[in-house]
C-alpha cells in the first residue's frame, strides 16, 4: 500500500523545466567489452563532448570549465582552473538525464554469483551483490568524472541509494523526487543499472533500459536516445554481411511494432544488436523502446560518437529524418 501510494505520487511530479532528453550510454559503447572493467576512454570522451554540445553553451572564453577537481590515477595533482568559474556569468544546462549500462563492469560479478536470480540468504549471492555494486558504482564515478571534465554538472545517483526496489524484477518502488530536485537545481543526474532489493526474490539486477522506461513514463522527456556501438537495430546480427539496418520502426497504441523503413518484403525480422547486450538482448531493448514510443516519445538508437548521434542528441530529428541519417527511429504510429 505504501509503495503504491508513493509510486502514484510520481505521476504528479512537476518539474520547473520539462526534461528535454534521456540518454542511455550503452555499456558496449563506453567500455571495452572483452576486457574486465576497462573503460573505452576515447569513446567516453567523445560521447561526453557531444553531450556537452547538446546540453550546454560553450563558455564565452572558449575554455573548458572542468568540474572534476579530483586526482586522476597516476597523477599527483588535480588539473583545474577554478578561477575561470569566477568570471563565468552562468552555467545553465538543458535538462537531460543520463543512464548508463554496465558493459564490462558489474557483469562478471553479477553472473558469477547469480544476483539477478535473488537469494540473499546464500553467501555467494550476498557477496556478489556487494561486488556488483562496487563495480557499477566504480563505472558510475568514472562516467560522472568524464562528463564533469566537459563542464557538465553531473551528479551520480545510484538506484539502490535512491531507494528503488523491484518486485519480481519489475519496478515496485522508485521515488523520482530526488532526481527531479537534482534537475530543478540545475544538475544532470547520472543513473545506472544496479543491484537492488526485490520484494519477492530478495535481490535482482535492475537494468538501465528498465530505468529509462520508468523515467520516460513519469518525467515525459521530449525524446530518448540510446547510444550504442553499432549504427542501430538490424534485422540480424550486425556482423552478418547481409544485415540490414532498420531505419524506422512504428509502434501501435497496443504496443505492437513493425518496420516501416526499409520496406523489405517477406523480411524475417530477426532483430539483433551488439553481442555484448547482457541484460536481455535486443528483443528486450526494442520492447522497452516500444513502450516509450507508445507514450508519444521518439526513441533514437544510434552509434555513439558519430555525426548521427550528434543529430539525435540535439533533437534535430523530431520533425523529419534525413535520408543521410543512419540509425533507428522508434516512434508512435499515427
Amino acid at each position: 500500500m505504501e509503495d503504491e501510494k508513493k509510486s502514484t505520487q510520481n505521476a504528479s511530479i512537476n518539474l520547473i523545466r520539462p526534461i528535454r532528453c534521456i540518454v542511455k550510454l550503452g555499456g558496449a559503447a563506453i567500455t571495452c567489452k572483452n576486457e574486465l572493467e576497462k573503460i573505452n576512454e576515447e569513446s567516453l570522451k567523445e560521447v561526453s563532448a557531444q553531450l556537452r554540445q547538446s546540453m550546454i553553451m560553450q563558455s564565452p572564453s572558449g575554455k573548458n570549465l572542468g568540474m572534476d577537481w579530483s586526482k586522476r590515477t597516476g597523477e599527483s595533482d588535480v588539473s583545474c582552473d577554478i578561477d575561470c568559474f569566477r568570471h563565468q556569468p552562468s552555467l545553465d544546462s538543458s535538462p537531460f538525464i543520463v543512464v548508463h549500462g554496465a558493459g564490462s563492469f558489474g557483469h562478471f560479478q553479477a553472473s558469477e554469483s547469480g544476483v539477478h536470480k535473488g537469494g540473499l540468504d546464500q553467501p555467494l549471492v550476498k557477496a556478489g551483490f556487494v561486488a556488483t555494486r562496487i563495480s557499477v558504482t566504480k563505472l558510475n564515478l568514472e562516467i560522472v568524472r568524464a562528463l564533469a571534465r566537459e563542464s557538465i554538472p553531473s551528479i551520480g545517483m545510484s538506484p539502490f541509494s535512491c531507494g528503488w526496489s523491484t518486485s519480481e524484477r519489475n519496478i515496485a518502488f522508485a521515488d523520482l523526487s530526488v532526481v527531479a530536485k537534482a534537475i530543478d537545481s540545475g544538475f544532470i543526474p547520472v543513473l545506472h543499472g544496479d543491484a537492488v532489493l526485490d520484494n519477492l526474490l530478495g535481490c535482482t539486477i535492475l537494468s538501465g533500459d528498465v530505468i529509462i522506461r520508468h523515467l520516460a513514463e513519469h518525467l515525459k522527456p521530449e525524446y530518448v536516445v540510446f547510444l550504442t556501438d553499432v549504427l542501430g537495430v538490424y534485422d540480424r546480427p550486425p556482423s552478418d554481411p547481409n544485415a540490414v539496418l532498420l531505419r524506422e520502426i512504428a509502434v501501435s497504441e497496443d504496443g505492437s511494432w513493425f518496420v516501416v523503413k526499409p520496406t523489405l518484403e517477406n523480411m524475417k525480422v530477426q532483430i539483433t544488436v551488439a553481442a555484448h547486450d547482457t541484460t536481455g538482448g535486443m528483443q528486450t531493448k526494442i520492447s522497452e523502446a516500444a513502450m516509450i514510443a507508445k507514450l508519444g516519445i521518439d526513441v533514437y538508437i544510434v552509434k555513439a560518437g558519430t555525426s548521427h548521434s550528434v543529430r539525435a542528441l540535439n533533437g534535430g530529428l523530431k520533425d523529419d529524418i534525413p535520408d543521410d541519417w543512419l540509425g533507428t527511429v522508434i516512434r508512435l504510429f499515427r
Copy 2:
C-alpha cells in the same frame, strides 16, 4: 508538509534487528591529512580488520572471503576466491552502520568553491558542488572496497542520492527507510559527509557528525564509536605536551556537559582534537556527541587501529571502563 510527514515517519522505523553500533571513521584517521586525496592505506586496512572482528564471525575455513571483486589500480585482474562462498554456511553480520568523514577528500573542492555557504546560481559553487561530490564518492568507494575485502557486506549510500536535504544546514529531510532496508537485508550501510541541497541556501555540506546524530536519534544504536587519529578528547591541542586526555564526560538531561574524569580543579577546559577536523572543530563534535549521549547512548571517542578501539567497537565498555582503556567516554549523567 510532505517533508514533515516523511520526517515523522522516521520515528516509527522498526528494524528487524536493533542497530548495535554506529561507527564514525574520522577523515583524519583514514586519509593522509596533508596530501590531497590520499588514503592512509595502512590505517584503513587495520580499521577494516577491526570492524570485521567486531561485526562478523571469522569463516570456518579461516579464509578471508573478500567481496571486492573489482580490479585495483595497477592490477590487470581481480583477486577473489569466489568458490569459497559456495561452501560457506552463512555470512551474518551484526547490525552496524558506518559513516565516514572526508579528510583530504572533498575538503579542497568544498572550501575553494564555498559549497557550504550555498548559492548554486554561482557557477563556482555549482562546479564546486559537482567536484565535491566526485571527491567524497571516490573516497566512499575506496572505503566500501576496503571493508568488502574484509568480508564486510558493505554498501555505499550517499546522503544526496538517498534524498537527504537540509534547511539552513540542519537536516530537513532524511528518510531512513533505505538505510533500514539495507540493514534488514544483512548489509552494512556506509554513508558519508556529502554536498546536499538546502531549502534556503540552495546547497551546503552535511557533515558526517550531523549524520551520525540523526541516525542515532532515529535508529537508537546500543553505542556510537568515533574513530579518530588521537587518543580521544583533550583539554587543549594534543600536540601540546601538557595536554590532558579527558577520560569521561557526563551529559545532563538539558544537554550541558562536564568532565568527570580526570578531576582537574580549575581546569580551563579548552577542548580540542586533531587539527584536521574541517567541519566545525571539536566543539561541534562534542556537542553532537553530547546530543547522542543525552538519548542514553554511550559515545566512545578513540584512536583508530589500537587495542582501545577494538574494545570500544566490541561494546566491551558498556558497564565498566577499565583503567587501562585510553579514550573518551561521553555518557548520560544518571
